[in-house]
Every structure is written in C-alpha cells, then in structure tokens.
C-alpha cells in the first residue's frame, strides 16, 4: 500500500468557489435538481400571487384611524373597526372610570411574569409565592372592587381580552394544586385513592370541554342548595378548573415518573415522611421538568377559553363578534377575526417559544 505522507502541516484553504455563498446556498436548497427548481419557481409565483393582493388590502389600501365606518373609504381593510372598538375588545364593558384598575392588574401581571421568566432576577422564591397565592387575591380585589372604597364592578362587565386572561389564569392557578394531588393519588399505593383519581382524570379527559361548560352552566345550579346562586363566570371557572386539573395531573405525573426511584428511597432513608419527601425532594424536581408541559397545557387552555362564548360570556372573540354583528359595522367580519387571530397567535406563539426555550435549557443542565 502507498500513502503519500505530508509531514509538513498544510495550510487550511478556503473551500473552492461554488461551495459557499448565497449562490451555492440557493443551488443546494432551492435548485438542487430540475424538479426542485420547478417547484421553487411555481411556489414563488404562487406566494407572490397570494401575498401581493393581501398586503395591498391589509396595509397599503387600508384605513387605520377614524370614528365610524364612513372613514373607511380606500377600499382596503377597515382597521377603523378595530381602532374604534379597541377598548371594548381589551376590557369589555368595564366602566370607563375604573379602567385604571384593569390596567394596573395587567401591569402587575406583566412584571410578575417577567420576574418569573427572566433568569437572574433575585428573590425568585418570593415572586413565585406572590404569583401563586397573592396575585389572584390582589387581582380579584382590584378588578371586582367593593373593598378599600373601590366601587364594585360586577363580572357581567368584565369582557374582552381581560376576561379571556382571567379565565385562563384562574383556570391554571386553581387547577394546579388539584392537579398535583390527583397526580400523586394516581401513583398512590392505596387502591381506592388510585381508582378515584384514575376515574376522575380519565372522565374529564375523555369528554369535550364544551360538554363540561354545558354541565357547569346548566347542572351546577341544580347541585347547590336552594337559594344559593353563583354567577355565570364562576360557573364556567369551576368547569374549566376541574377540566384543566385532569390534564395538569397527567403532565405532573409524567414528571413524577421521570424522577428516579432512588430519590424517594433517599428521602425515606433520611427519615422524611411521605409529605416531607414529596414537598422537599420529589416535587421540586418533578415540577421543574414539567415546566414545558405546563406551559403547553396553558396554551391549550388559552385557546379553549374561546369556548365560553358558546355559554354566553363575552371574551375576546365574543366581543369582536358582537361588534361586527352591530348593524353599524356589518361586513367587517374578516377584519375582526384577523385581529382576534393575531392576538391569540401572539400569546400562544410567544408561550410556545418560551416552552421550547425552557426545554432546551433543561436539556443542557441535566
């Protein structure tokens, strides 16, 4: 055999021309053979044919600001519809004078979330405790009023994005403890506890949310003693919480399953009781693993909140539909739905990006 030995180190040369740069990239990724080339050309033409009229309609020929539909004269999209109703879409019929309260709650929410999500923020533990236990109380007192001289605002006046967020956040926060209990119960060695948890989880997961909402709005009043009334929003919240708890339980259970058995054994060996071991050792690890899962189920819940319009609550989607069903604004359904889609998309896409980010950083730290 013959090998040609180079005892001197050869210099690294740049790759030959035609292997690098945009032209080479295009040849490899867009025109690698004639079929691919044809597909690329057809697709580019197709995209342009669809995108140009859309951009024209949605941006170039659109009307943005005004007070009534008469201001929509350019023949493109009438964003005046959204401009005029913006406060309605965000807060529903929340009284004008009290708007600051809703905005304040929104501000606190944004700060709390930023504190939870951004790495390196100090006192994380206290922010977590605030988010889980105190924020709901603060938000409720501010939004509902009746204390500290704040005028009472009935839940009928809550609406738009505000209501969507209230339902989603209450749904996830209230379902969380129940979900953890159910997950622990499903892994319990006590047969009756386990059976009850399995049945509870599988029943809620097996039925569509809309039947749960029907049930809570129609049957819940029947379940309660005579004379005890609960408002429509609370009824929906009860249904959503129970529904969500079942899904969260499965997410948490997947985290518990991922914790090696040695951890439980170590906790037992140190003399911790079941609840001490769970609280100090197992749950902190399990919950950390399932953060992406929790965020994903929150995304699903956020999308599902739109179902409350079927039982007559005025969330984001319902207020928008209400606005373009108004005879004064008939015919702007497309603008309305596109705006709604954009709002939902920003929230859901943002959260899914966050969950992917957490997933990646968990992978590197383990």
């Amino acid at each position: 055999m013959v090998a040609y030995v180079n005892t001197e180190t050869l210099p690294s040369l740049p790759p030959p021309k035609g292997l690098q740069g945009p032209a080479a990239w295009m040849r490899q990724n867009l025109f690698s053979n004639w079929i691919n080339g044809t597909i690329t050309v057809v697709l580019v033409i197709g995209i342009l044919a669809a995108l140009i009229p859309f951009v024209n309609w949605a941006f170039i020929k659109a009307d943005w600001v005004g007070t009534s539909r008469d201001d929509c004269t350019s023949g493109g999209a009438c964003w005046v519809f959204v401009y005029v109703h913006f406060k309605l879409f965000m807060l529903g019929l929340y009284p004008e004078a009290e708007t600051w309260r809703a905005l304040l709650v929104g501000g606190i929410l944004v700060l709390t979330l930023a504190g939870l999500m951004i790495k390196g923020v100090p006192l994380k533990k206290y922010i977590q405790i605030f988010a889980l236990f105190f924020f709901p109380i603060v938000a409720y007192v501010l939004l509902s009023g009746g204390y500290f001289g704040l005028p009472h605002v009935e839940t009928n006046f809550w609406g738009g994005l505000l209501l969507t967020l209230v339902i989603a956040i209450v749904g996830i926060v209230a379902a969380f403890p129940l979900g953890i209990l159910l997950a622990l119960g499903r892994r319990s060695s006590m047969p009756i506890v386990k059976a009850i948890c399995v049945v509870f989880i599988e029943v809620w997961r097996g039925v569509p949310l809309i039947t749960v909402l029907f049930m809570s709005s129609v049957m819940l009043p029947l379940f309660l003693p005579e004379g005890m009334e609960i408002d429509k929003l609370l009824r929906a919240l009860v249904g959503i919480t129970l529904f969500q708890a079942a899904y969260l339980a499965e997410v948490v259970r997947s985290g518990l399953q991922a914790i090696p058995k040695g951890q439980t054994e170590a906790a037992n060996a140190l003399g911790l009781t079941y609840w001490q071991g769970m609280y100090k050792v197992i749950l902190p690890q399990a919950l950390k693993i399932v953060i992406p899962g929790i965020v994903n189920s929150f995304i699903a819940l956020f999308k599902d909140t739109s179902l409350v319009l079927i039982i007559g609550l005025f969330d984001l989607l319902a207020t928008i539909q209400g606005a373009f069903s108004n005879p004064k604004w008939l015919g702007y359904a497309i603008e309305g739905y596109l705006f709604a889609a954009l709002v939902y998309w920003i929230f859901c896409f943002g959260m899914s990006r966050y969950s992917q980010h957490v997933e990646r950083s968990l992978k590197t730290t383990h």
């Binding site: 013959v2 040609y4 180079n6 005892t7 180190t9 690294s12």
Partner: protein, 255 residues
C-alpha cells in the same frame, strides 16, 4: 472466494484516493489525502479526534461527499452517478461505532434484509448465509432475538455479520470498539482478527494497538485532515517519527 485469486496476480488496488479534499462549511477537514490500498491489505488509521479519520473512510462508501480529488473503489470511480454509488456500496461493508442495528428487526432479519432486497437472494438462501456468518461471529443461538436484548459486544458482532452477509470485498470499521465496555472489546477484536486472517481487505479506524500489532500491514496517522505518518505497526508504535504522533501515542498510552 474472490480474495483468494486476488492475491496471486500482481497487487490489485482496492481503494485509491487522489488529492481528496473536503470541507464542512468553511472548515477544511481533509487536505490533499492520497492513499492506495491493495487487495487483501489491512490498514489501521489512528489520530486525535477531529483529525478527519472517520470522515475519510466515510467518503469511501459515500456516506460523506468529497469535494475535490478522486476516489476509486474496486476500479469504479465515486462521483454523482447513482449507479456507481450503488455498485460500490454493495462491495464495501461498514461497521459503525454505535452498531446501528435495526431495532425493529430480529438479528436474523437484520442480516437478511440487504441480501434479499439488494442482491435479490431468496429468503431461505439468505437465512442460510446469515446463519453461517452468525456462527462465524459465534452467536447463532441469538438469531431470533432483537438487538435490544443483546449486550454491546454481541450487537457489534451481529453488525459485523450483517455486513459480511452482503459478501463485501472491502470492510470499513469506524471505531468499532470505542462504544463498548472494556470486557466486551476482546470478543469484537477477536472477530475482527479472524476476519483479517481470512484475507479480507480492511480499513479500520481504531486505537486498539493490540489489534494493529497482530494483523495490520501498516498504520496511518492522521492529524488536522492530512496523513502525516505511515509505517509498519512495530515501527509506528515503537519509533514514531513525527512530533504529533509521539504526543498522541504518549497520550493514549498514558492511561
């Protein structure tokens, strides 16, 4: 067998690399690599990680594409012609670091898959051949098991048998023992030594000195994408010429 008649005539070139260059993006992995391997020769390739040794043997069966130079295997040039690639891959077997057995097929099915679909051999005949090779690697009784049920060493021996079932004329080994537990390395090396003794042309990327000393005709040392030393195993391990080879050997012998 083909190997037998190849040895008597003048040395036939099995693999030949001429000025082979390859880049990953901007990174120059193979620099002007030239190499001729005669039929029946056993070559051991070693070098630090990232030196381009795996890339080089992966170019020989076109798992990686070279961008400049010529690679001729069994008299067929490797280029963009799919027919040539097909023909070369039938003649060249490869064993990987992580075995890459098909987990959804039994050991026997793993061995029969390519002979049946590529060589179009009837099942009975393919199974008979497979059992023959499984016997040679000493695991015929595991034929009905799935790869997941075997130890690492057993899996690697199955992988060798699977390659041999295609009756290749050249075998490539890409660090076949580096994913194995120490106690399993020997069983795989024994199989490889037996194969070498049967006259197979072999190119092995490995750091196993014992293997190199027992069967290799020569050792190639690669660094930074080029071949910087080539010698008989004894000379290479006892009197390395190049500074880099000395350093490398002191490191692998160090532990």
């Amino acid at each position: 067998m083909e190997n037998a008649n190849a040895t008597n005539a003048k040395p036939e070139i099995a693999v030949s690399l001429r000025d082979v260059n390859k880049w990953y993006g901007e990174f120059h992995v193979l620099k002007n690599v030239n190499l001729d391997v005669e039929r029946g020769q056993r070559i051991v390739i070693c070098g630090p990680s990232g030196s381009g040794k795996s890339t080089m043997i992966r170019c020989i069966n076109r798992l990686e594409e070279h961008q400049a130079g010529q690679i001729i295997v069994d008299g067929i040039e490797l280029n963009n012609d799919l027919k040539n690639i097909d023909q070369i891959r039938r003649e060249v077997g490869m064993v990987f670091q992580h075995f890459n057995l098909f987990p959804h097929l039994t050991v026997l099915e793993n061995c029969c898959l390519a002979p049946m679909w590529v060589r179009k051999i009837p099942r009975k005949q393919a199974e008979a051949t497979a059992m023959e090779y499984l016997e040679r690697v000493k695991i015929p009784h595991q034929a009905k098991k799935y790869p997941g049920q075997l130890s690492g060493g057993q899996q690697q021996r199955v992988a060798i048998a699977r390659s041999l079932c295609m009756k290749p004329r050249i075998m490539l080994f890409d660090e076949p023992t580096s994913a194995l537990d120490p106690e399993m390395i020997k069983e795989v090396l024994d199989t490889m030594i037996e194969l070498a003794e049967s006259g197979m042309t072999m190119l092995c990327v490995t750091h196993e000195m014992g293997f190199a000393k027992t069967v290799a005709d020569s050792v190639i040392f690669m660094d930074a994408g080029q071949i910087i030393e080539m010698n008989t195993p004894d000379e290479f391990f006892n009197h390395p010429q190049h500074e880099r080879s000395k350093l490398f050997l002191s490191q692998i012998l160090g532990h």
